[in-house]
């Protein structure tokens, strides 16, 4: 990897000094991803936060006040089965517009690939405390050791109108499913792979839009009742499994792919 980086930099160095008009195969390129968010098709931007304007599948009105989530291991697989993966991760914060664009730290030959990523961290990556930037983000993106440690996958928070008409907070916090009533603690990897399908990577630039439909977290296959499940969901093994099922069923979609050759 380091050698590749060196070669790449050297090639940039040469290009910036000399004019290049050779006929070598096209250079390897990087691919940019843009994360967009909607509620059943209505775009979610900063102005939409903290407004009780969404009705979820179960019928409660709710707002979103925080939507921060982690994706990792964006993987490109070519038709010969070779896969390319920088092994890096990205923490998207929708309200503050941070990291909505992300370019994995890898250059690949232009061409067609099936593209996938992991929502959250799989067990191999989900090791307590080892990512200093995540420890520093948001006051600490960590999961308490008592719940198996590692990192949050998502913090989705807001208010909803409950069945007594009171406005109540909810914390839809997605982490690795854990049951600490057993000894030792029972852990189940509830990160999941999102397959975006086939994408053609151009010789000049490629941008891939990844869409999250937030309503889907409350919808399919499990209709989510915030009156019952609004709080203290991190230590709730069953709730984490429901989140996993909903998350891996149509929350993410491939959006617009923009390729420049």
């Amino acid at each position: 990897m380091k050698k590749i980086a060196l070669l790449l930099c050297l090639s940039i160095a040469f290009m910036s000094c000399e004019s290049d008009d050779d006929n070598n195969p096209p250079d390897n390129v990087s691919v940019e991803f843009t994360f967009t968010h909607n509620w059943d098709g209505d775009n979610i931007t900063n102005a939409d936060f903290d407004q009780i304007q969404y009705t979820n599948e179960n019928g409660e009105q709710q707002s979103i006040s925080k939507l921060v989530y982690l994706i990792s291991d964006i993987t490109f697989t070519d038709s010969d089965g070779n896969s390319f993966d920088a092994g890096d991760y990205n923490l998207v914060d929708v309200r503050s517009n941070s990291n909505l664009d992300f370019t994995p730290d890898i250059q690949i030959p232009p061409g067609d690939y099936t593209v996938s990523f992991t929502f959250g961290f799989d067990d191999e990556d989900n090791e307590s405390g080892i990512y200093l930037d995540l420890n520093s983000a948001d006051g600490g993106w960590n999961v308490p050791e008592g719940l198996g440690g590692g990192y949050h996958y998502m913090r989705l928070e807001g208010m909803f109108i409950d069945n007594t008409s009171a406005e109540v907070g909810y914390q839809y916090h997605v982490i690795r499913a854990n049951d600490n009533s057993t000894n030792p603690i029972t852990l189940q990897d509830t990160s999941f792979e999102v397959n975006l399908g086939t994408i053609s990577v151009g010789t000049t630039s490629t941008n891939v839009e990844v869409q999250m439909n937030v309503a889907e977290w409350f919808k399919n296959p499990n209709t989510w009742d915030l009156n019952v499940l609004n709080s203290v969901l991190m230590p709730n093994f069953a709730a984490q499994i429901l989140m996993f099922e909903n998350g891996s069923n149509g929350v993410f979609d491939l959006g617009v792919v923009t390729t420049v050759d």
């Binding site: 060196l6 925080k66 960590n142 928070e157 406005e167 914390q171």
Partner: protein
């Protein structure tokens, strides 16, 4: 490492492509590298030191002298340290501080430590200062604090028989301006590092916690009880604050608009910066308006005193019942844990005394 390589190669590129004219005219004193405590080094990102204000021995020494010197105030009676006292982890034990003319503010002073690790660089309870240097412009000209004007402060310093020489040593010029004053003080403030509490030593394997402190940590980290960690850090984020703004359920009617007063955004009315839980043993009273005189009152607030208002943070649970209703034992243990985050070596550090 890869990044270093890239920089190196880019540098090489620049050198090979351009004739480099050395226009590094800026004088710098003796460079100082901020010593990063092991517990920070192992867990969190490096401190933020602005490129245009690197730490130097001369700058830090000058900043310290200015911090303790009433010369910056209109009538030579008040220093920064009057409202930011070393023995109180650099805050003021009075609920509201008095300005030079006895006028009283509406906010409690703030403790000053680990400021270089405030990655968002939002300072004051309401985040209205966007860098430490910018923050320091405020108290000098604030009518209810030092009530001076910057031109006046500059000429007092210029007329002093020591300062022109000290500015010369720190910044390469004896013509004093406000920017250099704020830079020097910011350098000193960035050296105020606190990372040697009992809990830090516990994390480093150097000291044991009592069963009560350990249970307090569990309460702190338990979503069903304290759930403090979603805003106030955790053992992997030993700053013990997120440096983010929230409404933690203190008032039904919001009078001080906090972050919203500065941003104008009604969704941010009544939001204040989460305070760090380090050094609570020295920083009473608590909250932006110093309303709680003791830690017990703070814990009671989160346990049964929460009230609803429009912008309350969704993390505040069971608001209709006032909170999680901790048991007396959990409350006592939570308090014991919180106190294990205090660092006596910080308030006694001779480098930080006048």
């Amino acid at each position: 490492m890869r990044f270093g390589l890239l920089i190196g190669v880019l540098f090489f590129t620049m050198v090979s492509c351009f004739n480099d004219t050395d226009d590094n005219g800026g004088y710098t004193g003796t460079p100082v590298t901020l010593e990063v405590p092991q517990i920070f080094e192992q867990n969190i990102l490096p401190p933020v030191i602005p490129e245009d204000n690197p730490l130097t021995e001369e700058g830090i020494a000058l900043g310290k002298k200015l911090f303790f010197d009433p010369i910056l105030s209109a009538d030579n009676t008040q220093a920064c340290a009057d409202c930011h006292r070393p023995e109180n982890a650099f805050t003021d034990p009075r609920r509201f501080s008095f300005g030079i003319d006895g006028s009283i503010g509406t906010r409690n002073s703030m403790p000053l430590f680990n400021l270089a690790w405030n990655y968002n660089e939002r300072f004051f309870w309401d985040g209205r200062a966007l860098s430490l240097e910018e923050q320091i412009f405020d108290p000098v000209r604030n009518p209810i604090e030092m009530a001076n004007t910057w031109p006046n402060a500059e000429s007092s310093l210029q007329a002093n028989n020591e300062y022109p020489q000290l500015f010369e040593e720190a910044f390469g010029t004896s013509t004093i301006d406000s920017t250099m004053v704020t830079k020097a003080i910011a350098q000193f403030l960035r050296t105020l590092v606190s990372a040697n509490s009992k809990f830090d030593r516990y994390l480093l394997g150097q000291e044991e916690l009592t069963p009560s402190e350990l249970n307090g940590l569990d309460v702190f980290m338990d979503e069903a009880r304290g759930d403090c960690f979603h805003c106030h850090g955790n053992p992997n984020n030993p700053l013990w604050t997120d440096n983010i703004f929230h409404n933690n359920g203190m008032d039904e009617t919001i009078t001080d608009l906090g972050l919203g007063g500065f941003s104008g955004d009604p969704r941010e009315f009544g939001l204040f910066k989460s305070g760090s839980l380090r050094n609570l043993a020295y920083t009473a009273p608590y909250m932006h308006d110093g309303r709680f005189a003791t830690l017990d009152e703070v814990i009671d607030h989160y346990s049964e005193g929460l009230v609803f208002s429009e912008t309350i943070d969704p993390l505040m649970k069971n608001v209709a019942e006032g909170g999680a209703h901790l048991t007396e034992e959990d409350k006592a243990d939570l308090k014991a844990f919180l106190l294990s985050l205090s660092d006596p070596s910080f308030i006694n550090n001779p480098d930080f005394q006048e």
